[in-house]
Symmetry: D2
Amino acid sequence: MIHFESDYLEGCHPRLLQALCESNEMQTVGYGTDEICEEARSIVQNLCGGTKVSVHFLVGGTQVNKTVIAAALRPHQGVLAADCGHIATHESGAIEATGHKVLTLPAVDARLTARGVDEYCAEHFVSATAEHTVQPGMIFCSNPSEWGTVYTRPELLDLRAVCDRWGLLLYMDGARLGSALCCEQVDYDYAFLASVCDAFTIGGTKLGCLFGEVLVIRSESLNRDFRYILKQNGGMLAKGRLLGVQFRELLRDGLYLEIGRRENELAMMVKEDLTRKGYSFLYDSCTNQQFPIFPNGLVEKLSERFVFSDNGPTDADHRCIRICTSWATKKEDVEKLLSDIPAH
Amino acid sequence: MIHFESDYLEGCHPRLLQALCESNEMQTVGYGTDEICEEARSIVQNLCGGTKVSVHFLVGGTQVNKTVIAAALRPHQGVLAADCGHIATHESGAIEATGHKVLTLPAVDARLTARGVDEYCAEHFVSATAEHTVQPGMIFCSNPSEWGTVYTRPELLDLRAVCDRWGLLLYMDGARLGSALCCEQVDYDYAFLASVCDAFTIGGTKLGCLFGEVLVIRSESLNRDFRYILKQNGGMLAKGRLLGVQFRELLRDGLYLEIGRRENELAMMVKEDLTRKGYSFLYDSCTNQQFPIFPNGLVEKLSERFVFSDNGPTDADHRCIRICTSWATKKEDVEKLLSDIPAH
Amino acid sequence: MIHFESDYLEGCHPRLLQALCESNEMQTVGYGTDEICEEARSIVQNLCGGTKVSVHFLVGGTQVNKTVIAAALRPHQGVLAADCGHIATHESGAIEATGHKVLTLPAVDARLTARGVDEYCAEHFVSATAEHTVQPGMIFCSNPSEWGTVYTRPELLDLRAVCDRWGLLLYMDGARLGSALCCEQVDYDYAFLASVCDAFTIGGTKLGCLFGEVLVIRSESLNRDFRYILKQNGGMLAKGRLLGVQFRELLRDGLYLEIGRRENELAMMVKEDLTRKGYSFLYDSCTNQQFPIFPNGLVEKLSERFVFSDNGPTDADHRCIRICTSWATKKEDVEKLLSDIPAH
Amino acid sequence: MIHFESDYLEGCHPRLLQALCESNEMQTVGYGTDEICEEARSIVQNLCGGTKVSVHFLVGGTQVNKTVIAAALRPHQGVLAADCGHIATHESGAIEATGHKVLTLPAVDARLTARGVDEYCAEHFVSATAEHTVQPGMIFCSNPSEWGTVYTRPELLDLRAVCDRWGLLLYMDGARLGSALCCEQVDYDYAFLASVCDAFTIGGTKLGCLFGEVLVIRSESLNRDFRYILKQNGGMLAKGRLLGVQFRELLRDGLYLEIGRRENELAMMVKEDLTRKGYSFLYDSCTNQQFPIFPNGLVEKLSERFVFSDNGPTDADHRCIRICTSWATKKEDVEKLLSDIPAH
């Protein structure tokens, strides 16, 4: 079987594995206060350009989302997210377990819109009975979104403006950020994100790490005492240097973006070939997840040789599937897949 | 500098590193449902003998403690722990953040006593105003304890009996379990623990893993839907097989106990030599952490060449330090340390 | 000004006030364990017929909802509610603050449907990734609903069946239960509710009490240690007998239903008159809240003499308003209101 | 039987009952935004002198404590309390249910000392591993304390100074504040408390109200959005004016202090008589709770005619009992009690 069902099927990129092997016998202090983590932090800070940021390394995505939200909000505040947003649908109530409501807004192409947020806040903050409802305190956006779409520079500037208008924090979950930063529609970089977001993540698990998410925090009030809250949420890895080793390697010379570029190229091969063959897509993704709609018969036939995610029926005769590319995806496997898919 | 300050200074045991390297390119599903984790689960279940248990793999200790406690208790219940217990002192409020109070009891040699628990429960459950206080619902015990002491077989049977009497769950944090199981005072094994505890952990981080704790659950009601709660607490690793790979290697042929044995041997070298030289210890530890009391001058002098933890003054002229041995500690380094310590 | 904006504008029904005055000097123990509360409990238990139930008295609605939900659910579970349900929209995140997600379903006439719940559960419980989402553990329904509609006997039996199928608890918020029980569409009583719900409330605040909600619990597992959780949620009134005094008076000879009947009669006067005059209603309410749709001009004009709630525009020229009747509403005031409203 | 077991055995002071009766038919808006509450708020603000404060009315003590603490602390912070403090022992885990640890310090005469707090903070904030523990964020002190002792003016100024040094908030639970303010050792008033505390309560339940606690908040950051958090914690009474009516009456002309004075006088009758007769007391209380130590035989004999709380044995032959006086205690009942107690 050839696998396309996710971008975290393998261990880590060979360069990261080598770095882990080489540093294995080294002795360091724990909890991310070692010199390797310090180096990795410096690299991230440099990538963020002139903006002063704090950098933390966490193991996983649920963890980073719940920790940031818990640290950011007062008890009566909730976090605004697209209705398809990860924290609204797939965190097993992790956000609510920290005491906070996820306030969902209708997504447009799986993204929040500044206008939607603005209208929600305008209605909330002028209401005479606002105090009987949950106050929005933060925006959560995934970039790329859960459906592979990305936020453009003007969209992010608009979200920033609406955050400033209503006193919200802007937090971006970049679990697949490398793929977003390397796609054609995106003309910004880490430094832009550092200037526009109060906090964002650079996801490693889905781009070549064994595990790990970089959390970049610009907001000083959010960052105050953050490591206590990290520890409280089980997010402080004893051998924290494992995160430092991986991210130092991934970010020091652009390997992260190289991985993003490569997986996007393979995804575009899929997108262009299927478009040419007459298939449509549930969303117009420009990143490493593609969501083509196939006749049921084709889905069945492909399943004999390939593994992919099934996103359910779009009508009685068709289904949407997800095809993921990763650092480890082989070009010839993509070619095999495409050659098994006839014109529509 | 030669390091003795903790047992998680290095990466992982070479055999584990090799196993991680060999499996790196392998493709598996995520979240611990892969075949390697299944194999590792079977190994643990076999070690637990006739008792039917469920097995989960988590990344870290805070995580496993908060997840088990959150899963086990109803809102009005608290967890009984020794006043020096890890969850009472060193988890940054992680337990309280799940909504539960840590009810502390005076420790005897850093351990809970069945009698102490029994008296506490007797007082609580007969009180006419019990409902105005927190109901004990679980016992938390560390084995080895925070001070290196271990629970004996009769002590654990007594704790089990007191749990049965009052309807409490018995949970053992085995962050350094390998060291406990290999020390002279201990005549029990995994199977005994599986029969006596409702849940216990087999700690990997401090015994040769990059990271990882095995959680063994006997109680069916505790285990029901446990994976939801695991996910909610950020404890479900995307590439879960990393835990499976490590624990399969560590537990399949006794490597875990071999590591425990070796670090105990080195610790006993320290203990015997210092005892012979006339030093006393804060606690009579039989495991890989030793807590000798040294004159301030000696502490200062040793600090020039060695690193260890400082547990603070015991009187105006003496301090207690912690010396830790690990899988990676070199015998010659222990010898160097001891040769620098004169007779008292 | 004549007030119709809510049913809690005044203090309490004169009979309750008298009972409070008469018992004022009496000495009782606190926290609801006194003999008056015991009497009131017996009365409620008798009203519940053959079903064995436990009875608790709480001060307010938010309190009772959060306490029941906290007591009922394990950490990974959420509560299903109509999207217009009180706990989904108007509790300031009180439910999330107990750690639980409110899972909303599209309401039909402001009510949950058994079918909607069944489909949601079917999708959840068969999903291979269920554990990445929140597990439904309880149904919350308001009766009357937030829009004045009521559940019929068959609808409640269907909800019961779907609860049994999926292992959910059924909880009914009866903040205005007296109005529901006295409306024409309803052919059931307390005893039926006790047999069909795991828990339900008999609301006092909106039907003649100074404050107070009766909580009736049939589920023994939910009721276990409930008073601890009551206390923990700040729901245990020191002078608990104030609740006992009021509910004893309200429920001993049918005063509660008399109040419900009377406020429904006045509400039906409004409904029939406005229907005759050609106005439509946002919802077809048979209880003490009526939601007519008026031209903006009429709303403005009425506002000079009457106070009511404004539920916002239904189109550019019309608004929906809420008219509430209560135990204290005077018939002549309703007549004044209606005489000021011309035919449409 | 003659009752001395608590100060909340009866309903409310006759003047409050009359005020409730007179205002019963009045129509007001809900949730404490009515004109009566506004008047009561003004009265409290005037009592607080030059200090600008916000005033909220809540139903009960557990509620006010958990709401203030939840509003004040970030997730990693805990609240410092005396080990005998109400929130440490008698709130059924209400504080922990909001996610926060109660950090206990040894009490001196049931009070926190500035020195104890200072040492705790000094140790915490200089520690290299502070982030692995709970950060103190607030001081909770009861005045009078749980054992009837009071804080002196210099003690409170010292607590204020230590709060300023370490960035803590100072919160005083004044459940029986009227008794404290009227006792001989106390030379301060509401205005002083408003200037020295970030928040404090003026308790009504135990001084003549049916129920109710005034919460006075000086800290602007604590007060921001406080009403959302009030609502979230179930602390917003629908007919909020019931609190306004009571506190307006209680505070407008000094009735509150009159009650405090009277109950203190009766308590001093007890104290002086028993002292003269040779009995000792567990604590040297100057307020309305007295804790004499009696021979077991005397306790048994008195129990035939009188009811009081039993605080348990002080040795094999003696017990400590609690005698409470209240607004409703009759002087002749105190005389009867004392005449039944022989010289020691």
